[in-house]
């Protein structure tokens, strides 16, 4: 190789290294914020069982978590500025974890406040992702789905802990919600990758939730079961 060519190639390589380092900085920040959120949201399993206090405590918790979530918009914006045009897929693996966690947090907050599913565009909006950046920063289907699976994992745990805290209706709400998601997931043609393996784990979450529903229904603990006998959840 002549020396010009060598210099040129080395310059290209060094530029890539610098870019990677800049992106890493933003990703670390993103990571910090999502971990903070997860820490906050963990408290939903232990907030007081007293009905009144529950009504105050949980929304307050969700509000503070939501604030942190919205602060993630700064990092996504920073990423959109750093990542070069059309290179989203080149760098996205660097922030897969925080973005999936963010989706998990956002959908969990949505479930706890409205008992509904936060859609992909809504989730992207919460994290601050704009359409015009889609070639640089985006929320792809796979990451959204990973976030949903984490949500189901968390809800199966919540079903158990809710009962412990005296909330006997929550497991049934969770069961209905999660079963719908499972129907949706079953419609996908998945390859043998991590998503497929995590999807396979969903059925254990469903089983766990169903067992909780079974337990509370048979013991006539739920509102519904007080009026008529309930068949075991199928």
């Amino acid at each position: 190789m002549d020396s010009d060519e060598v210099e040129k190639i080395n310059l290209m390589l060094e530029r890539d290294v610098e870019l990677r380092e800049k992106i890493k900085e933003h990703v670390n920040e993103f990571d910090k914020r999502t971990r903070t959120m997860v820490g906050m949201l963990n408290k939903i399993h232990t907030t007081p069982s007293d009905a009144n206090r529950l009504e105050i405590a949980v929304p307050a918790l969700l509000d503070s978590a939501r604030t942190v979530l919205l602060s993630c918009r700064e990092t996504t914006h920073a990423l959109s500025v750093t990542v070069p045009e059309n290179q989203f897929w080149r760098w996205k693996d660097m922030w897969s974890n925080p973005i999936r966690t963010a989706v998990f947090a956002a959908t969990l907050i949505e479930y706890l406040s409205g008992r509904t599913l936060l859609s992909l565009p809504q989730a992207a909006n919460m994290i601050g992702i704009k359409e015009e950046w889609s070639d640089r920063v985006n929320l792809p289907v796979e990451d959204y789905l990973h976030g949903l699976i984490s949500l189901v994992n968390e809800l199966s745990r919540l079903a158990v802990n809710a009962v412990t805290l005296g909330n006997f209706d929550e497991p049934i709400k969770i069961s209905i919600f999660v079963k719908e998601l499972f129907v949706g997931f079953s419609m996908l043609n998945l390859k043998n990758d991590t998503l497929r393996r995590r999807y396979d784990s969903l059925k254990y979450d469903i089983k766990k939730i169903e067992e909780v529903v079974y337990d509370v229904s048979l013991r006539k603990l739920t509102v519904g079961s007080q009026h008529r006998p309930l068949a075991p959840a199928s």
Partner: protein, 288 residues
């Protein structure tokens, strides 16, 4: 912030959309893998073709012209690869290229190996990054996809193996040793240029180890030649002729005739040897 509850049918719709999205991606991935395999196939065939042509027995012992002819054949066949990439370009537009880069990579490196081999035969030099990218552009100068320094260097690294084969298989031909020592110097240069880049490119390290082995093979061959030819006080071309004559005597007089070779051949007067050499070439022509 409460949005209206998503009814069951909407969840289903949502996932139908996801399903279509994932199917689209996976199907595209498969198409690209198939194209990549075809590209690898053609490129490997080109490399074999190049080796074959440079070893052709011809009257005209102008190796440079032969090498250039080989290069032209190589370039022509590689146009098939370029048209495959032209077709593939539509799947790799915008931000898509990076999504499928891992599937494109293997075929691309094989193509660069073949292309750079042809280029070496044509010009005796290492093809540049820009020159490679230029072969992967449409008529308006728009690249089919962005060439990465990683694929470029990994493809070039594989070239050193082919050059080793090129040098050694041609060593017994006229001018083979000179060619081998040129290749030796060239590969040594490549190895040292790439060394500086190994921290930046995954797997380049492993390929450098292979390059070192190839270099050693060429070096050993060059050494053997120097040691052996020092035993005979004749210019290298004459030694080539003597060996060639001996081989030809063996094949023209049949296996049983042991007299065809033996010390007589080696102790003939040099000028006679050269004359016989020319006759032998004529014989070969008649026999074809």
């Amino acid at each position: 912030m409460s949005s209206p509850p998503i009814p069951h049918s909407s969840v289903v719709q949502l996932f139908e959309h996801f399903g279509a999205d994932l199917d689209d991606h996976n199907d595209r991935r498969e198409r690209i893998i198939k194209a990549s395999r075809d590209i690898t196939n053609i490129s490997k065939k080109v490399i074999f073709l190049l080796h074959r042509i440079v070893l052709e027995n011809t009257n005209n012992t102008d190796d440079v012209a032969l090498a250039k002819r080989a290069a032209q054949s190589g370039y022509e066949k590689l146009r098939d690869v370029q048209s495959l990439y032209a077709k593939l370009a539509v799947e790799l537009q915008g931000d898509r290229y990076w999504r499928y880069q891992r599937q494109v990579s293997p075929g691309l490196q094989e193509y660069i190996e073949a292309l750079s081999f042809a280029h070496y035969l044509d010009h005796g030099s290492l093809i540049t990054f820009d020159q490679v990218q230029q072969t992967l552009m449409d008529p308006h100068g728009v690249p089919y996809f962005p060439l990465t320094s990683s694929d470029h260097l990994l493809g070039l690294s594989d070239l050193t193996g082919e050059l080793m084969r090129f040098a050694i298989s041609g060593i017994s031909r006229r001018g083979g040793r000179k060619k081998a020592s040129e290749v030796c110097a060239f590969v040594r240069g490549c190895k040292s240029d790439f060394e500086r880049m190994t921290p930046y490119i995954r797997d380049l390290n492993k390929k450098q180890a292979v390059t070192t082995q190839s270099l050693e093979k060429i070096e050993d061959a060059a050494y053997a030649i120097v040691v052996r030819s020092s035993e005979y006080d004749l210019p290298p071309e004459m030694l080539d002729d003597i060996v060639a004559q001996s081989i030809s005597n063996y094949s023209s007089s049949g296996v049983d005739n042991g007299a065809a070779f033996g010390h007589d051949t080696y102790h003939k007067h040099p000028s006679t040897g050269r004359h016989r050499g020319r006759d032998i070439n004529d014989d070969e022509d008649d026999n074809r």
